[in-house]
């Protein structure tokens, strides 16, 4: 037995320890809190709150439809190493449960201290008040989950981050709060500019491809007059498009807001028929060129909307 311990087994243990030590990511560097966000908007906001204390990765890219993200094992590896996971909630990223379960990380399972659900405390729009079922398309029984790009909700979202990150690292709470305050001050400045830009356009009507924009529109007083999709997630019937084009002409609606993964050709065709313009919006951080962080993404949307509606 002693011989075995000194011989091949000892050698094997030694190799494992050496290789393991070399491969442990960041073993030599100062340990930052590893946070994984399900969508890039939340990644950008966690970076703002966490500052130098966190290292954030996103499971998806801005150009992806978050509803239908493919659960890859590479997601599970990121989650395996995570101290905390930030999820949007309201069924936008329901697939995250499968990825988290496959990560074998008990800190981030439901009920774990590293599980941060951002929708807590958010006043959700479009919560169905009547019975809903799948005949209405891809409905969200708990309300519209696309709240992350409403800058007015950033204080509530970032407060959830502060509380969640402080559960994992309570000694850094003051730093998280300081970062949050600095970020919100910066956002407040921009909010004044955006409000001024959008003020003359208050009440303008827009058409959206998929009901992703309700929080942004509501924030700046715009009206969602119709949707290209007859029912969310279901390709529109020709009769619906005919009615929509007629409505757009009658109400002189100038724009159709489109997500990067929507059927752009269809949106352009409808817009052309109605004498309007289809605009690909920054539905998330990284969705379009230039929308590299949270403030830049909102800025892109406001600038694009203002230019098209004037």
């Amino acid at each position: 037995m002693r011989t075995i311990a000194r011989g091949p087994l000892g050698l094997l243990v030694g190799i494992v320890l050496v290789v393991g030590g070399l491969l442990v990511p960041g073993a030599q560097a100062a340990r930052k809190l590893r946070v994984v966000a399900t969508i890039p908007d939340l990644k950008s906001l966690v970076e703002a709150v966490g500052g130098d204390l966190v290292e954030v990765e996103s499971l998806t890219r801005g150009t992806q439809n978050f509803h239908e993200a493919e659960v890859r094992p590479s997601m599970m590896l990121k989650l395996r190493r995570a101290d905390a996971v930030v999820e949007n909630g309201l069924d936008l990223d329901a697939w995250a449960d499968t990825a988290i379960e496959g990560s074998n990380n008990p800190e981030i399972i439901r009920g774990g201290r590293g599980r941060i659900e951002v929708s807590r405390g958010i006043e959700v729009l479009e919560v169905p008040s009547a019975r809903v079922d799948r005949s209405m398309g891809d409905v969200h029984p708990r309300g519209n989950p696309h709240f992350s790009l409403d800058p007015g909700l950033a204080p509530a979202i970032t407060q959830n981050f502060v509380d969640g990150l402080a559960r994992v690292a309570p000694e850094s709470r003051a730093a998280f709060e300081k970062n949050r305050a600095a970020f919100l001050a910066q956002l407040q400045q921009r909010m004044v500019e955006w409000t001024k830009t959008m003020e003359p356009l208050r009440g303008s009507k827009v058409v959206v491809f998929h009901p992703d924009f309700i929080y942004l529109l509501t924030r700046f007083g715009l009206v969602q007059a119709g949707t290209v999709e007859d029912r969310p997630g279901i390709p529109p019937a020709p009769q619906h498009l005919v009615t929509l084009i007629r409505q757009m002409k009658e109400e002189k609606i100038k724009v159709i807001l489109v997500e990067p993964w929507n059927d752009i050709k269809l949106a352009n065709r409808v817009a052309e028929e109605a004498g309007a313009k289809a605009l690909v919006m920054a539905t998330a951080v990284g969705a379009v060129k230039g929308a590299d962080n949270y403030i830049a993404a909102i800025d892109y949307n406001i600038t694009t909307l203002a230019k098209a509606l004037q």
Binding site: N104, E123, E199, I214, L217, R231
Partner: protein, 482 residues
């Protein structure tokens, strides 16, 4: 003297009450003044507390609450014209900046230590932080879903006679193959449960029987990247065996699985544990399990004292943002009812290409194979080993969201009998929505001999089968990994 005293006393009696009254008035005035000061103090305190409460409310609840939505509730009614609603443009001032440290009401959670937990701590139960918080009154504490899978098949009459079709005994029939009720959710902060009960027509014209398809407890809170599952489950042998019939990308399970494990694939009762290391640059999952070995086709001894042992290692390589490759190897080793050793070793490989921004993969390629090493005994009692192999290759393209098409090629030997068979199965899939799917497939199979496929004087040597599959999903359905 007496006369002077009387007026003095009278005077004193007359003045003293007045003096006393004057003193009471002063005292009362002072008291009133004091009360007023106190009231002012209280007022100030109330105002300060109100101010603080307001700040806390603004921080802890959505501060700049969105006003009424600009459309009627979309789920309740399609979004059509709606009155303009004035939005509140201002975001909340960063109140936290002005708040003294600790002024923010934070849900401090028990056990929020930052230092690495000890082994004892890791073994101790963890406290829940967010469990059930999204649930409202009247909501269930678990999810449920229902899937229905119906299959129809057309085949030559002689194949029907021999009952040698892919769906043996169900040739030239339309039947409910699998109607499955799934109940799943977290039991408590440490474990989740998955239960699947299925009904389906197993033999022609018979009443649909109800079976327990799966029932498992998964222990989620184990330390060091481990997880354990116990119960009755579809074993993680290859990538396709754990997948239920209705979720397979084909109408039928690949021939190699049906021939080496039986029509249902490998479903066993026992337990398995997985380990996901966090120090490797790519994802690896290692699995070991111990099961009864009830599977009659491959094992069948069915006792835990001589168990079926399983193992699997899979690795995933994210080649680019749009391409992924998974490779794996599996093993299952147990005993037959005659106490003869049976070992199956498998490989699996799967590649997917999903262009940027696409909602579905454009191209999926995969192959799985099984090598069977099985002891057999002849009538003289001599034991010898039979090595058999089977595999399939599959390619699918999905150029449009609603349409996919592909082909699978199967080639497999029989585990104990001589001979082999091959098959090619092109198919087309139409998905009107995420929850409804139709599939049409044609399968051409050739067997090296009709021996064993010649019941009732029929023949299953060459088969041409047409399949039609209709599948629906109601309610919750967990996402499938890569």
């Amino acid at each position: 003297m007496r006369g002077s005293i009387i007026p003095v006393v009278w005077l004193a009696l007359a003045v003293l009450p007045a003096l006393a009254e004057a003193q009471d008035t002063d005292a009362l005035r002072r008291e009133v003044e004091q009360l007023r000061r106190q009231q002012e103090q209280y007022q100030k305190t109330i105002e300060a507390l109100n101010e603080r409460l307001k700040r806390l409310e603004m921080l802890n609840t959505p501060t700049a609450q969105p006003p009424a939505p600009a459309t009627p509730p979309a789920a309740a009614a399609p979004a059509t014209g709606a009155p303009a609603t004035a939005g509140s443009p201002a975001i909340t001032a960063p109140a936290a900046a002005g708040s003294p440290p600790g002024a923010v009401a934070v849900a401090q959670t028990p056990g929020g230590a930052t230092s690495a937990p000890s082994a004892l701590e890791l073994l101790s139960p963890r406290q829940p932080f967010s469990l059930y918080q999204q649930r409202g009154a009247g909501q269930l504490l678990f999810d449920m879903g229902l899937t229905g899978d119906f299959v129809g098949n057309l085949v030559q009459r002689n194949v029907q006679k021999a009952q040698a079709g892919t769906f043996s005994g169900q040739e030239n029939r339309f039947f409910p193959r699998e109607v499955e009720l799934s109940l799943f959710g977290q039991i408590d902060p440490y474990a989740r449960a998955d239960v699947r009960i299925e009904a389906g027509e197993e033999t022609a014209g018979a009443e649909s029987g109800v079976n327990l398809a799966e029932a498992t407890i998964t222990l989620l809170a184990l330390p060091y990247g481990t997880q354990a599952k116990i119960g009755q489950m579809r074993n993680r042998f290859g990538w396709s065996n754990p997948i239920h019939e209705h979720d397979l990308p084909w109408v039928d399970r690949p021939d190699v699985y049906r021939i080496f494990f039986g029509p249902e694939g490998l479903v066993e009762k026992g337990g398995e544990a997985t380990w996901v290391p966090d120090f490797l640059p790519f994802y690896v999952e290692a699995l070991g399990g111990v099961f009864n070995g009830d599977n009659e086709t491959a094992f069948g001894y069915g006792r835990i004292n001589n168990p079926l042992a399983t193992g699997r290692v899979r690795a995933f390589f994210e080649l680019t943002d749009t391409m992924g490759l998974q490779i794996g190897t599996s093993v299952a080793s147990g005993e037959t009812p005659d106490r003869l050793q049976s070992t199956l070793v498998g490989y699996d490989v799967k590649y997917k290409f999903r262009p940027e921004g696409w909602l579905h993969p454009l191209l999926t390629l995969s192959s799985e194979g099984i090598y069977s090493i099985r002891q057999v005994e002849n009538s003289a009692g001599d034991k010898r080993t039979r090595d058999r192999f089977g595999a399939y290759g599959w390619a699918e393209v999905q150029p449009w969201r609603r349409w996919a098409m592909g082909t699978r090629y199967d080639w497999t030997q029989y585990p104990t009998n001589p001979g082999h068979q091959w098959a090619v199965e092109p198919y087309v899939t139409f998905m009107p929505s995420e929850f409804l799917r139709f599939r049409l497939a044609y399968k051409h199979t050739e067997r090296s001999s009709r021996e064993g496929f010649d019941l009732n004087g029929g023949s299953g040597r060459i088969m041409d089968e047409w399949f039609l599959q209709a599948t629906f999903v109601l309610g919750a359905h967990p996402a499938h990994p890569f």
